[in-house]
Amino acid sequence: MLRRLVDGPLTVSELAEPLPMSLAAASRHVRVLEESGLLRRDVSWRTHTCTLDAEPLAAIRSWIEVYEHFWRNRFDTLDEVLKDRRRKRRGTTS
């Protein structure tokens, strides 16, 4: 859904059309996206037009990047810590 909105705003019916789901199901999906702040819905008469709001998506990439960096480094440190503790334990028991 979001990919298709990259090309421009679409109505809910247009979004639902190629998908193997009912209009009601598509509408629920749209609501979830709207609540996540990824999609803006403008209502004119009875037509709901959906527009992509890409800004939160850019942030999603970033949170993954932040944590990826964090865990890679933490695992490196943990590896060292565990080896250290093992060495020390061996040192005190033998």
Binding site: P56, L57, E68
Partner: protein, 156 residues
């Protein structure tokens, strides 16, 4: 709507340690202090109420005095096997501030001295957004292999 798998951050590494030691690394404040601060930061406070529903708190300090806080709640605990906890960083790095994530640690022992630890982190609120980025996430395994190769070289 994307039908692909929801986006996860996954890290897996084989450690020269027992499953019990790795479990302790996440649940014993004394051990948590040794590795859960980023870069030059140090852990100044570590608390773990190790029971389902219990809270964890990690506070780290940067060299300039800035404090970073992580709050979490244990959702599932199976000693030497599995830890599931929420993980919320509450500042000051704005990008991830206040974002509740879920972390699952899975431990798989090969022997008393070799255990694979897999960390899976998901964001709570936005599976939809994560799914939208399917295919765009570079695998971290390649980098991990490089990192491990580097670590092994250092050891020798």
């Amino acid at each position: 709507m994307s039908t692909g798998p929801e986006r996860h951050l996954v890290f897996s590494r084989r450690f020269s340690a027992s499953a019990a030691e790795l479990y302790e690394a996440w649940t014993e404040p004394e051990v948590m202090r040794l590795w859960l601060a980023a870069g030059p930061n140090i852990v100044v406070q570590a608390q773990a109420d190790v029971r389902i529903g219990g809270a964890l708190l990690i506070r780290t300090q940067a060299p300039d005095g800035t404090l970073h806080t992580i709050n979490g709640t244990y959702r599932d605990l199976a000693p030497e096997k599995r830890i599931v906890m929420t993980w919320t960083y509450s500042g000051p790095v704005a990008l991830i501030c206040g974002m509740e994530t879920l972390i699952e640690i899975a431990l798989s022992a090969h022997s008393d001295v070799e255990t694979t630890m897999t960390l899976t982190q998901t964001r709570f609120a936005s599976d939809e957004a994560a799914a939208a980025y399917e295919g765009d996430w570079p695998s971290c395994f390649e980098k991990l292999t490089t990192a491990l190769a580097g670590a092994n070289l250092k050891q020798e």
